[in-house]
């Protein structure tokens, strides 16, 4: 029986194994260990990072390599860029992706552009690990985390030349993509969906990589291609099950890498199915979903037998109210409806 791990433990294992393999890998961020400076009082590793993904690392690697920072994303992510160009491989934790608002400069103008601006003199082997997504709490009483803590926003990163951006969909791809990101010589934004943190799946113990720049076909089908990103891949799989009940064979492609984009896998799939539905929790304007649609319009329009459909969040910030949040995020029902609509047209 293959070993199962929680998504957040798979990330933890990736960090531990890479830090063991390569002494230049360091981790920095707010409360990545927690209770900093109080080891003498018996407090160590009080938090272990968002979703506990970095728990246990400070005991193994010490505070020189597992660095709790003050709240100063612009400063410590800028410092991670500086450390990356001078021989380290920092993993910087950006607690929620919305906080990119306070540190886009070091990520974009420095981290992403440096190599190009400097004529190839430097590499920036940096990972920004960040949490994305709505909470999925949909109670009648209460809500989620609202606009500043629930965004997806990876299209911002995909837009920037020089940056790579990945979004795992299960524990297996979490470990493999995080290791690949750490070993990559370019800055990679690794987006971890908060609702996936508590999901379980098979994860090999030995280190392995899932290649950046490659999508993965999870389920073959000949009638329609469903493309999912992060948690939306699971939504596509559920939609595919329901479509099967209606006699429709859906192919599910897990995008994994938002930049670079695996155009070949997308084009090849649509050439066979003739129909495309892209499912994305991010807002629709200038989005990864529409980028995929544009690639297909550009390269496979002759093979399309119906309109390309995107199922995305509305063009609005994420609401708090549980009832509204549930209506905000794409559902399997919406994906089924979109698939049937493109098949009908």
């Amino acid at each position: 029986m293959a070993r199962e791990l929680l998504f957040s433990r798979a990330e933890n294992e990736a960090l531990r194994q890479e830090m063991e393999r390569d002494p230049t890998v360091i981790l920095m961020g707010e409360d990545v260990a927690g209770g900093a400076g109080r080891a003498d009082q018996g407090f160590i590793d009080a938090w272990g990072g968002p979703m506990g993904a970095t728990k246990g690392l400070i005991q193994r690697f010490g505070p020189e390599r597992v660095i709790d920072t003050p709240i100063c994303e612009m400063g410590f992510i800028g410092a991670a860029v500086g450390a990356a160009v001078t021989g380290l491989r920092p993993v910087a934790e950006l607690m929620f992706v919305n906080f990119v608002g306070v540190c886009l400069d070091p990520i974009m103008n420095e981290g992403a552009f440096l190599r190009y601006m400097l004529g190839g003199q430097v590499s920036v082997p940096l990972v920004i690990k960040t949490a994305i997504g709505a909470t999925g709490r949909a109670p009648e009483r209460g809500g989620g985390s609202a606009a500043q803590h629930s965004g997806s926003m990876y299209s911002i990163f995909a837009h920037v030349p020089g940056l790579k951006c990945v979004a795992p969909s299960d524990p297996y791809t979490a470990k493999g993509l995080l290791i690949a990101a750490i070993r990559d010589d370019d800055p990679v934004v690794y987006c971890s969906h908060r609702q996936l943190a508590g999901t379980k799946g098979e994860v090999p113990e030995a280190p392995y990589t899932v290649p950046i720049g490659k999508a993965r076909t999870l389920r073959p089908g000949r009638d329609v291609t469903l493309v999912g990103i992060a948690r939306m891949t699971g939504v596509c799989l559920e939609a595919a099950d329901r479509l099967a009940g209606k006699g429709v064979e859906a192919e599910v492609v897990d995008l994994l890498s938002l930049s670079p984009l695996d155009e070949e896998t997308l084009v090849e799939s649509v050439r066979r199915t003739g129909h495309l539905v892209v499912v994305d929790e991010d807002t629709p304007r200038c989005s990864v979903a529409r980028d995929v649609a544009a690639v297909i319009a550009d390269r496979a329009v002759d093979h399309l037998d119906g309109p390309v459909k995107t199922v995305t969040a509305p063009h609005a910030p994420v609401p708090y109210s549980g009832v509204l949040e549930a209506a905000y995020v794409p559902t399997p029902e919406a994906v089924v409806a979109a698939a049937l609509a493109t098949l009908r047209d």
Binding site: G35, A46, I71, G142, Y320
Partner: protein
């Protein structure tokens, strides 16, 4: 650490103002009961959603806001319920907001971290650490440009003192002499990170002084001390004397958010030390002990507050959730 809690520092002028004393007491108790009710609702599963409780820090919000007029501005933080209540936001509409209801202050779209009420100068809370400070600075600039004598207050935590923008604001406030009061609530922690680790010091007022902003450090668990210092700061701001900085040393009794266990990073002894200085108990000892208010008066206030909170919960529960069409309203003005 001395064991006996110092008495609250009420002078004879304050002890003679029974109306003010009742107001200070009622607001501190209203905040505490509100927060404890939210905690209980969350524990029982009756309520969900991110929330950071203000219990322990009530005297800061109340002492500060008691010096403000209804149309002065307050910018708040993720730990903002106390600021909102002290500024006069209706607790029933706040509770409805936490329940994600249409009748909430933000019509269910903001939740705990973003409670706002423009009608009482509550500019709203931001969940991005430090981001409220320039908001308040902008409000102060706006008031001055419009020729009003309104004052703006920025509430923020010790953790926010890690963010560069706070220092940018100290600088701007000074060079433009803005009617702004920086209120730094130093509760010793940013999430689980102790202030002495993150900032290299327990004392923050000196940083403001380095920018030329007059600064004071006060016992934030003493509502009279906060009220007194805030009086000087507001007089300076309204009189054209420019910004002030108040470091209020305080403590949060619960974890960072509901569910966080603070014993993973702080001791029972430390908690006991601060709880022995509880702002409400010290107030009561000072005021009743010196005969400024009768104990029966305080108990009557307790009862009235209890009824107000229960009515707020009922209002929230009976209110409707927003209509699905609300999803895309108010993205733009039109």
């Amino acid at each position: 650490m001395p064991d006996a809690a110092p008495e609250a520092t009420a002078g004879p002028d304050l002890l003679g103002d029974a109306e003010l004393l009742r107001r200070l007491y009622r607001q501190m108790v209203l905040i505490r009961r509100f927060e404890e009710r939210v905690h209980a609702l969350r524990q029982s599963g009756a309520l969900q959603g991110s929330a950071h409780l203000y219990v322990g820090q009530e005297s800061v919000a109340v002492g500060v806001c008691a010096r403000l007029r209804w149309n002065d501005y307050v910018a708040s933080t993720h730990r903002g319920h106390g600021h909102a209540i002290a500024k006069g936001v209706d607790v029933a509409r706040m509770m409805a907001e936490l329940f994600g209801r249409e009748t909430g202050t933000n019509h269910g779209k903001g939740g705990s971290m973003h409670i706002a009420d423009a009608a009482v100068g509550m500019l709203g809370a931001t969940g991005v650490v430090g981001a409220g400070v320039p908001m308040a600075l902008g409000a102060a600039l706006s008031a001055r440009t419009r020729g009003t004598d309104q004052v703006a207050v920025a509430f923020f935590g010790d953790g926010a003192m890690g963010q560069g923008l706070v220092y940018e604001c100290l600088n701007m406030s000074r060079i433009w002499k803005l009617p702004l009061v920086f209120v730094c609530e130093n509760n010793g922690y940013a999430e689980s990170t102790p202030v002495e680790y993150a900032l290299g010091t327990k004392h923050l007022a000196g940083r403001a002084e380095a920018f030329g902003v007059p600064a004071a450090t006060v016992d934030g668990q003493d509502v009279f001390a906060v009220y007194g210092e805030m009086g000087r700061a507001v007089a300076r701001a309204r009189g054209g004397g420019g910004p002030s900085f108040l470091e209020c040393q305080t403590y949060r009794y619960y974890g960072h958010f509901i569910g966080d266990d603070p014993r993973r990073y702080r001791t029972a002894e430390e908690e006991a030390y601060y709880r022995a200085r509880d702002c409400i108990e010290r107030f009561e000892r000072a005021v009743v002990g010196r005969g400024a208010l009768a104990e029966a008066e305080l108990r009557a206030i307790d009862e009235e507050v209890g009824r107000t909170i229960e009515a707020a919960v009922r209002f929230a529960e009976e209110s409707r959730p927003p209509a699905p069409s609300a999803l895309t309203t108010d993205v733009y003005a039109r």
